[in-house]
C-alpha cells in the first residue's frame, strides 16, 4: 500500500517537474528561436560556406579545405592578425587603467557624481563612424588637437595618421574616447567594496595605494575580469573606427597597412572582392582565435579573480 502511494507521489512529482520544464522552455522559447535563427544558423552556415567558393551571385561550389590552405599562405592574414593583436595588447590595458582611474575619481565626486557619470558615458553614444572621422581631425599631424596639446610641452607630435609606427597608438588613443561603459561598471563595483574592510586596512596602517592593491582590486576583480574579456573580444573584432579613418569613403585609395585589422581584411574579401567562401574561413579562424584567447583568460581568472561569498 505504502509502495503504491510512494510510486504515485513520485509520478506526480515527475509530472510536475516535466510541466515546469515545459513552462520554462515556453518562456525562454522566444530567445531560443532568436538564437537559433540569428546566431546558431549563421554560424553553422558560415562554417559551411568556408568550405566553398561563393561569390553571392552563383551557387557555392564545395572546395574542401582549400580556403583554409590559402589562409595559411596569405601574408595579409598574418599582417592583419598581427596588427589586431598588437592593437588589442595596447588598447585593453589602456582602456582598463583609464576606466579604473576615472571610476576612482568619480567615487570621490560626491553630489556631482551623477553629472560626471553621464558626461563620461556620453561619448559611448557617439556613432563609431563619427569617432573614425574625429580621429582624422584630432590626430592630424599638422593641425590636430592632440599635436597642439603636445606642442604646449615642447613635444613635436608625430604624423599619427600616416606614419605606420604611430597609426595603432593613435587608434588606441581614440578607443579611450569610449571607456564610459567600463567606468560605470567599475564604479558600481567600487561602491560594493565593504567600508569595514577599508577601515580595518587603515587601522593596520595601509596607505591609499596599499588599500587599492590589497583590498579594492581583489574585491572588484570580477568586474575587472568581465571588462578585460569583453574589451579583448571587442578589440579583436575592431573594425568601424579604423575602417572609416583609413579605408572608408574619404580614403578610397590611400590606406595604411598598419591599420589593416583582421575584421577589415575579412570585410574586404567578403564585400569588395566577393570572396565569401574565403571570408567565411577567415571568420571561422577569428572565432577560434577569440575562443582560445577567452579560454586562456578563463583559466587565468581562476588564479587572479576573487569572488566574495566563498568562490575563488
Amino acid at each position: 500500500m505504502s509502495a503504491t502511494v510512494a510510486a504515485r507521489k513520485e509520478r506526480k512529482e515527475r509530472g510536475s517537474g516535466r510541466h515546469q520544464g515545459r513552462a520554462a522552455l515556453l518562456f525562454i522559447s522566444p530567445w531560443l528561436i532568436g538564437f537559433a535563427i540569428f546566431m546558431l544558423y549563421p554560424v553553422l552556415y558560415t562554417i559551411y560556406l568556408s568550405l566553398t567558393d561563393y561569390d553571392v551571385i552563383n551557387d557555392p561550389t564545395y572546395v574542401g579545405l582549400d580556403n583554409y590552405r590559402e589562409l595559411m599562405g596569405d601574408d595579409k592574414v598574418v599582417l592583419a592578425m598581427r596588427n589586431t593583436f598588437v592593437y588589442t595588447a595596447m588598447a585593453v590595458p589602456a582602456q582598463l587603467v583609464l576606466s579604473l582611474a576615472l571610476a576612482l575619481l568619480l567615487q570621490r565626486a560626491g553630489q556631482a557624481a551623477g553629472f560626471f557619470r553621464t558626461a563620461f558615458f556620453l561619448p559611448k553614444m557617439t556613432p563609431p563612424v563619427a569617432v573614425g572621422v574625429l580621429l582624422l581631425m584630432l590626430l592630424n599631424g599638422q593641425s590636430g588637437l592632440v599635436n597642439e596639446f603636445l606642442g604646449w610641452f615642447g613635444i613635436s607630435g608625430p604624423n599619427w595618421t600616416t606614419d605606420p609606427s604611430w597609426v595603432k597608438p593613435g587608434l588606441v588613443i581614440m578607443s579611450l574616447w569610449t571607456v564610459g561603459a567600463s567606468v560605470i561598471i567599475l564604479l558600481a563595483a567600487l561602491q560594493e567594496v565593504p567600508e569595514e574592510l577599508l577601515d580595518a586596512a587603515r587601522v593596520d596602517g595601509a596607505g591609499w595605494w596599499t588599500r587599492l592593491r590589497h583590498v579594492v582590486l581583489p574585491i572588484i576583480s570580477p568586474a575587472i575580469y568581465f571588462i578585460v574579456v569583453v574589451d579583448t573580444i571587442a578589440s579583436l573584432q575592431s573594425f568601424t573606427e579604423a575602417y572609416t579613418a583609413f579605408f572608408g569613403a574619404g580614403n578610397t585609395t590611400y590606406s595604411n597597412d598598419a591599420a589593416l585589422f583582421y575584421a577589415i581584411y575579412l570585410f574586404q574579401q567578403a564585400f569588395e572582392f566577393l570572396h565569401m567562401g574565403y571570408a567565411s574561413a577567415m571568420a571561422v579562424l577569428l572565432f577560434l582565435v577569440v575562443m582560445v584567447v577567452t579560454a586562456v583568460q578563463v583559466l587565468l581568472s581562476r588564479r587572479y579573480v576573487h569572488y566574495t561569498g566563498g568562490q575563488s
Binding site: A36, Y45, Q142, T161, F271, E272, L274
Partner: protein, 458 residues
C-alpha cells in the same frame, strides 16, 4: 530532448537546402522584347541613382515622359551598395535598372549579375557610335556591351597662379609635360615654416593617379584585353619614382597628406584659396567647386600632359546596366537610352545655364561619355571668357578628347587593390618602387588569372 531533435533537424535541413542562399533560378531577360515604339508599363526600380540636381531631374523627367504614364520610376537613392545589389540579384529580386561606376561593370558582367545589352541597344535604337571609345571599352566585356555610359570624369592641371608667378613659374611647368620642370617648380613653390610644411608645392595625387603618370610615360597598367598586368613595366616604375620623389622633396608623403587633410577641401578655405597648394592634377568637377566657393581664387588651368606634351586624361565615370532577372528590362532599357541621349543632355544643360544665369554664376559645362552631346553643350559655354575659369573649361573639353580608360576585366577591384596597396607601401617608406611594383604585379596577375579562368570555364 524532442525540442533538440526538432531544432537540429530544422537547422540541418536548412543547411542542406541552403535556404538562406537565395540563389534561385531567377528569370533572365532573354525573353524581353525591346522596341522603342512599344508602350511600357509597370514599376521601374532604379538602384544607385539620385536625382540630386537639375542635370539629373531634367533627364529623369524626360525618361518618365518617354516611359509613358503606365510606367512608374522608383529610385533607390544613394551610391550603389554592391552587397545590396548582388544580394538582390542572388535572391531573384533585383531592381529593374542599376546605376554603377563603369569600372564595376566588368566584375558584375563576369559574375552574371548584369546582362549583355545587345538586344536592348538594337531594339531601343541606342546609337553607340556617339559614345567615346574609352567609355564604351570600359563597359565592354568579352566583346559584349554591358553598360550604357553616362558621365565622364577627366583630370586637369589646377594651380595657384599667384604662387606660380611668385616662384617664377608658369602653369606649363606643372602640367606634367616635363617631369624635371615639375620637380623644379615643386621645390620653388613649397614653403616650410618652423620645420613643418606650410605650402605644398606640387601634389602628384598618389596613389590614385598612378595610371595617369604611367600613361604619361607611355604605358598602361593593364593590357588592352584586360588579361595581363603590366605593373612591373620599367615605365611604370619610372612613373612611380617620379611621383613619389615629388613627396620626398617635401619631407615625405605623411607631411603632404597631413597638410592636405587639414584643408577645407570643399569650402572657401580650400588649398588654392588659402595659398597652401601650388598645383595638382585633379578631376574636372573640382573646377565647379572652386568657382562656386572661391570665385576669386587666383587660379591657372591646363590639361595634364604626357612627356610628348600631348593632353592626356584617365577617363572614368558612370553607366547604366540591366541586372540579371530585371523585372522590367524593356522599361529599364528605355530609361537608360533617354538618360544618355544627346537631346536629354542638352535639355539638362539648358536648365543649368538658366539657373546659373539666375544666380549670377558661370556655366562650366558638363562632361559626358556622349561625344555628340558634349559638342552641343560646349556651344552653350561662354567661349569669350578669358578668365581662369574660361581657361579651365577649354582645358576640360580638350582633356575629354584625349582620354584613356582601363579595360573591363573580371577582377577590377582586386587589380586596383593590388597596385594601390603596394604604392601605399612606397608612400609610407616600407618599400622601394621597383620592389613594390614587382609584388603588385604578382598579386594582380594572380587575381586576373583566377578571375579569367573562372570566366573562361563558363
Amino acid at each position: 530532448m524532442r525540442l533538440r531533435v526538432v531544432t537540429g533537424a530544422v537547422l540541418a535541413g536548412c543547411l542542406l537546402a541552403g535556404c538562406a542562399e537565395g540563389t534561385s533560378d531567377s528569370e533572365e531577360t532573354s525573353d524581353a522584347s525591346f522596341d522603342s515604339n512599344a508602350d511600357l508599363s509597370g514599376d521601374v526600380q532604379v538602384m544607385g541613382f539620385g536625382a540630386g540636381d537639375e542635370i539629373a531631374t531634367v533627364r529623369l523627367e524626360k525618361a518618365e515622359e518617354e516611359l509613358g504614364s503606365e510606367a512608374e520610376v522608383k529610385l533607390i537613392e544613394g551610391d550603389l551598395d554592391i552587397q545590396q545589389f548582388l544580394s538582390s540579384v542572388a535572391s531573384g529580386e533585383p531592381p529593374s535598372l542599376v546605376y554603377a561606376e563603369r569600372s564595376q561593370i566588368g566584375t558584375f558582367a563576369s559574375r552574371g549579375a548584369v546582362v549583355p545589352l545587345t538586344d536592348c541597344i538594337e531594339g531601343e535604337g541606342i546609337d553607340t557610335s556617339v559614345f567615346r571609345e574609352s567609355a564604351l571599352s570600359e563597359v565592354t566585356f568579352a566583346d559584349e556591351v554591358y553598360g550604357i555610359p553616362e558621365f565622364n570624369v577627366v583630370q586637369l592641371t589646377q594651380a595657384n597662379a599667384d604662387l606660380l608667378e611668385q616662384s617664377g613659374h608658369t602653369v606649363e611647368d606643372v602640367n606634367g609635360s616635363d617631369w624635371d620642370a615639375v620637380l623644379a617648380a615643386n621645390k620653388d613653390l613649397m614653403k616650410m615654416e618652423g620645420g613643418d610644411l606650410a605650402t605644398i608645392g606640387y601634389d602628384s595625387k598618389l596613389p590614385e593617379f598612378l595610371p595617369l603618370w604611367a600613361k604619361a610615360n607611355g604605358v598602361d597598367l593593364i593590357s588592352e584585353d584586360g588579361r595581363t598586368a603590366q605593373l612591373d613595366d620599367p615605365a611604370v616604375v619610372e612613373a612611380l619614382e617620379f611621383a613619389v620623389s615629388v613627396y620626398d622633396a617635401q619631407g615625405g608623403f605623411g607631411e603632404v597628406k597631413a597638410l592636405r587633410d587639414s584643408a577645407d577641401f570643399f569650402g572657401d578655405g580650400n588649398q588654392f584659396a588659402s595659398g597652401t597648394l601650388g598645383a595638382m592634377p585633379m578631376e574636372q568637377w573640382y573646377v565647379s567647386v572652386l568657382n562656386d566657393v572661391s570665385p576669386d581664387a587666383p587660379m591657372a588651368f591646363d590639361t595634364v600632359r604626357d612627356l610628348q606634351g600631348e593632353p592626356i586624361a584617365w577617363a572614368s565615370g558612370s553607366a547604366w546596366a540591366i541586372p540579371k532577372g530585371s523585372p522590367n528590362p524593356e522599361a529599364a532599357c528605355r530609361m537608360a537610352r533617354v538618360m544618355t541621349e544627346t537631346e536629354s543632355w542638352v535639355a539638362a544643360a539648358e536648365e543649368r545655364v538658366r539657373l546659373r544665369e539666375k544666380d549670377g554664376g558661370l556655366f562650366t559645362g558638363i562632361l559626358t561619355a556622349n561625344e555628340e552631346a558634349d559638342a552641343a553643350v560646349q556651344e552653350m559655354v561662354p567661349s569669350d571668357d578669358q578668365s581662369a575659369w574660361g581657361q579651365a573649361i577649354a582645358a576640360m573639353y580638350e582633356a575629354n578628347d584625349h582620354t584613356f580608360a582601363m579595360p573591363a576585366n573580371p577582377a577590377g577591384d582586386e587589380f586596383e587593390q593590388a597596385w594601390q596597396d603596394e604604392v601605399n607601401k612606397v608612400l609610407t617608406g616600407d618599400k622601394e618602387p621597383a620592389d613594390a611594383l614587382a609584388d603588385a604585379q604578382e598579386a594582380a596577375q594572380a587575381a586576373l588569372d583566377e578571375a579569367w579562368a573562372t570566366w573562361d570555364e563558363k
